[in-house]
């Protein structure tokens, strides 16, 4: 057993280092771990054959409920998923930036208004709204890296209720809500620097990368309007907010303004950039902004007092704040280190009393390719280490006291971890129960389903001293990040039915209104009948159906599929949706209920007669 583990790990490590070297091209990692350090870490990782299990079971018996809601991003599927933790049962998929023909998202008029014709999305980071440093169960925010959008999900219905397009920005990354005193602002970043504005008016700069900029964008959580943008020379990818409502901060791996791989990696030292919210508010008030593409843009480039640049080694990735609010941990990616920033020192650095680099109070060597760090609420950090394919548990205090290897345990994972997250770890109530390692590669862990394999979300018991894998869970394209929220914070906020008045056109009386070429059908759905048995229209009519589900009973949703018309959607109890189409195909087209509703579900159908 341990021999096998040795072989596999050795193979992967070799592969990882070779891969990094090849990928880096000109710049071989100069600070790889010493032989001794590698040996030490390796021994730690193989020791766990005999270790004590944390003792938790992922088994949630039939009829029982999970203690945590897990909100997973869905990568380039464009959706957000809800899983039960620790059972890892997938409970729901929320279409956000994508079409979903099951629910009708992207088909109905209501969802088309949100998507505005763009239904390719790449969700990376899901975060919940906060009150006083913990989740309030009101909203989720998620970014679309592909089309530069941020969406808000209302958690009472668990559906997308706002999408904002963010100009002057590209590669929307690292979205994070204000944690204290409550979420009024949400920040989101530009991973790709672009000309600002990035339109024909600025064509002179299209091929002048030195005139490309990054943006730290601040959104108003309640209105989903753009408060302002802070323009940078650097790119900014991951983001975090502190626990005091004073700062947001972001890692930058391309201060070089590079546009090629070699250029991104040129400098040995990149930055954690900190944004000073009080000064941002003052600058806005004082009118120190330029309006570009309709957005107030503040200058946050070097020399600005709005920003602080803390140097951290080469191409850092995640920035995560410890639950006690004391430290920010930047993971090194190309450097094997994590840089621990003491947030209390940031004030002094902004005031010019100390140099920015003095904010870094520890720089332990974690492993090859540290990406993201999470916390158990008991003083330990757990960092995902990509090239080593490990989760490394290490002690923050020991690191701050100067230990270069404050490791508690190193766990091999399968394989190639990206993000990592512990239950409640992005709140002051981190409870150290469960850890999920979001592994990018599953390789041989599941039945072969063809060339496109699932990801592997590994569930890890976090309660023992050592990390123990208890479950492999396959996931479809391609979760990046997750938060796991205690059930009691969410459950009472989630509703079983809509408020009928939510939709201004909710149907209370069945009627057909004909105006010129327009036919508006307003119709109820009540198990097992629609409000009409047939509707006649003329070929070429522009037809709009409003359908309101009048069934109050929990879990009694109706479908609405129009044969041959490429239309399907679902209305849940008291919900109203509408769809508009041109009746271009003469004939009889049965409309039927797609979502099982009743013993006479199959009989729930009606005719759309398109006359010539």
């Amino acid at each position: 057993m341990s021999k096998k583990r040795f072989n596999r790990r050795d193979f992967l490590k070799t592969l990882g280092i070779t891969g990094a070297a090849a990928g880096a091209g000109l710049v071989l990692p100069r600070t790889i771990l010493s032989e001794h350090a590698q040996k030490q870490i390796f021994e730690a990782s193989t020791a766990h054959a005999a270790e004590k299990n944390g003792g938790q079971s992922y088994d949630v018996k039939p009829g029982q409920l999970d203690p945590y809601y897990g909100f997973w991003s869905g990568g380039h599927s464009g959706e957000v998923r809800i899983m039960g933790v620790p059972s890892m049962r997938q409970l729901h998929r929320i279409p956000v930036f994508c079409m979903d023909v099951g629910s009708g998202y992207g088909i109905t008029n209501e969802s088309k208004k949100l998507l505005k014709g763009t239904f390719v999305g790449d969700t990376h980071h899901v975060h919940g709204s906060y009150v006083n440093g913990t989740y309030d169960g009101k909203w989720l925010f998620v970014n679309d890296k592909g089309n530069n959008r941020v969406a808000r999900i209302r958690m009472d219905y668990m559906e997308t209720d706002a999408i904002v397009n963010i100009p002057n920005a590209q590669g929307m990354h690292g979205t994070f809500p204000q944690r204290y005193p409550k979420t009024e602002w949400v920040v989101t970043n530009t991973e790709f620097q672009v000309p600002v504005p990035n339109d024909a008016s600025n064509k002179a700069n299209f091929n002048k990368p030195q005139n490309y900029y990054g943006m730290h964008t601040i959104l108003d959580a309640a209105t989903m309007g753009i408060v302002c943008q802070i323009m940078l020379d650097e790119n900014v990818d991951l983001a975090a907010c502190d626990y005091q409502g004073k700062y947001s901060m972001s890692t930058s791996y391309n201060p070089e303004k590079g546009v090629t791989l070699a250029e991104y990696l040129a400098a040995d030292s990149d930055y954690l950039i900190v944004f000073h919210w009080e000064r941002i508010r003052a600058a806005l008030k004082a009118g120190k902004y330029k309006t570009i593409s309709g957005v107030r843009v503040l200058d946050g480039r070097k020399g600005s007092d709005l920003t602080l640049r803390i140097p951290v080694p080469k191409n850092p990735h995640g920035i995560n704040i410890s639950p006690d609010g004391k430290y920010g941990v930047c993971s090194g990616k190309v450097s094997p280190t994590c840089s621990v920033v003491e947030l209390a020192k940031i004030d002094e650095a902004f005031a010019g009393k100390i140099k920015p680099e003095k904010c870094v109070v520890a720089q332990p060597e974690i492993g090859l390719g540290p990406l993201h760090t999470t916390f158990d609420g008991r003083g330990n950090a757990i960092t995902s280490v990509f090239i080593d394919s490990t989760n490394v548990k290490w002690n923050l205090d020991r690191a701050v006291k100067g230990e270069k290897k404050p490791h508690v345990h190193v766990l091999d994972i399968s394989y190639q971890v990206g993000h990592i997250m512990a239950t409640m770890a992005e709140t002051k109530e981190a409870d150290g129960k469960w850890l999920v390692s979001l592994n990018k590669i599953s390789k041989d862990r599941f039945l072969n389903v063809g060339p496109l394999k699932p990801e592997n979300e590994q569930l890890i018991d976090l309660t023992g001293e050592k990390l123990v894998i208890v479950k492999d869970e396959p996931a479809y394209i391609e979760p990046h990040d997750v938060i796991m929220v205690r059930r009691d914070l969410v459950e009472s906020k989630v509703k079983h039915r809509y408020n009928m008045a939510d939709h201004p056109m909710a149907v209370h009386k069945n009627e057909i209104v004909r105006k010129g070429n327009d036919v508006i059908v307003r119709m109820t759905a009540n198990a097992p009948v629609y409000g009409f048995q047939e509707v006649k229209v003329k070929k070429g009519n522009k037809v709009t159906f409003y359908v309101t589900n009048h069934d109050e009973i929990t879990d009694l949703s109706h479908g609405f599929n129009i044969s041959n018309y490429n239309v399907n959607f679902v209305v849940s109890p008291y919900q109203t949706k509408s769809v508009t189409f041109t009746a271009d195909k003469p004939g009889v087209h049965w409309i039927y209920c797609t979502n099982f509703c009743h013993a006479l579900h199959l009989e729930m159908r009606m005719r759309l007669i398109v006359e010539v």
Partner: protein, 366 residues
């Protein structure tokens, strides 16, 4: 003649197919033009009172007739509509005639005919409202096997309406109400055993042979229930979070919190609530009133927080919004379970346990 007859007649709906939701629903709607003397055959004259009619034979009052909609309009069936019932009873509280004048229950779906429904209803004639009449206890479901939600609701409508009318018209004397009691808001941590010993939690244990199964040592259903209104009961059973959330869910409307949990292979929840939204296996009875539970007022729980509590297989918090429910007063918890008969036969059997919040959880009388 009487107002009632015209009311009934006006309810006869002509089925017309038009662009109207009600007409669409009418595939499953049934209306019958009964007259009051079909509910109280002995009477030849009716005098309108508030909510009911007195029936006279000559000058002698022989009983009353009522429309259920005037008394229990909030009790709705599987189809979400009240089962409008015309009910007559004599001066002794014996039901003399029970006629459904409107229902929209989709019993056709489970292969039943209107005649089956009428057969079921006929069982109520001759029953006395002063006595316990329940599905599985005096009332058989044979005629409408499968339509458990309909049967439970119909039972509550008939008895609830008749008993209330009996109280109002003086046919039935109200039980002497005790001095008003008030739920204590005091909290002390109490173990599961303490809550049981003090009677704050009551238990119904059903052996396998009680429901027609092979005898075994383990109960078929080991059920506990409690009114969680006193914090010393509710907070201990549910934990502070769930208890506060249940209280918040009661909201401005107020009301009471019933907690029901069980272990064993049997189920108090059943599956009726999934289709019709109504829990068809249990309800409460208090005085003349019965209280049934709907999915809208239900939250699943999977554990009891009180120290020493056994693990549970099923559990729920059920809110009682109905203002008629008095948490300080005694009530009966009625459990109705299907019983296997032979290989394919099924009947129902009912079980009952009374409950009254113990004095220890009430404010001291002044």
């Amino acid at each position: 003649m009487t107002g009632l007859a015209s009311v009934v007649v006006s309810l006869v709906l002509v089925l017309v197919f038009s662009f109207d939701a009600r007409a669409q629903g009418s595939f499953l709607e049934h209306r019958y033009p009964y007259t009051p003397n079909e509910a109280l055959p002995g009477a030849d004259r009716f005098v309108k009172k508030q909510g009911y009619w007195e029936g006279y034979k000559g000058n002698k009052m022989v009983g009353v007739v009522l429309l259920s909609k005037d008394w229990t309009p909030n009790l709705v069936g599987y189809a979400g509509k009240h089962l409008e019932t015309l009910i007559g009873m004599d001066m002794a509280g014996n039901l003399t005639g029970v006629k459904v004048i409107f229902h929209a229950e989709p019993i056709v779906m489970i292969g039943l005919k209107e005649d089956n429904y009428k057969t079921f209803i006929r069982q109520y004639v001759g029953k006395n409202v002063k006595e316990r009449v329940a599905i599985g206890s005096g009332i058989s479901m044979d005629a409408i096997t499968g339509a458990t939600v309909t049967a439970v609701v119909q039972n509550s409508i008939i008895l609830g309406s008749a008993r209330r009318t009996a109280l109002k018209s003086g046919l039935l004397q109200a039980r002497k109400t005790e001095a008003p009691r008030k739920v204590s808001q005091a909290f002390t941590a109490q173990s599961w055993k303490t809550l049981l010993d003090k009677g704050a939690v009551q238990r119904i244990t059903i052996k396998p042979e009680g429901v027609g199964l092979k005898a075994e040592a383990q109960p078929y259903l080991d059920l506990y229930f409690a009114l969680a209104d006193p914090p010393a009961v509710g907070r201990n059973l549910l934990g502070a979070n769930a208890y506060e959330q249940a209280k918040a869910a009661l909201g401005k409307r107020g009301g009471s919190i019933l907690v029901v949990v069980s272990s064993g292979p049997g189920s108090f929840k059943g599956t009726g609530f999934v289709r019709g939204g109504i829990f068809d296996r249990f309800h409460l009875e208090q005085e003349a009133k019965s209280f049934i539970f709907r999915d809208v007022d239900y939250t699943l729980i999977s554990e009891i927080k009180a120290a020493g509590a056994p693990p549970i297989r099923e559990g729920g918090i059920f809110l009682i919004h109905n203002k008629d429910f008095d948490p300080a007063d005694r009530f009966a918890f009625n459990l109705v379970l299907p019983v296997r008969v032979g290989t394919t036969g099924k009947e129902v059997k009912s079980f009952e346990q009374t409950y009254r919040i113990p004095d220890a959880y009430m404010e001291k009388a002044r």
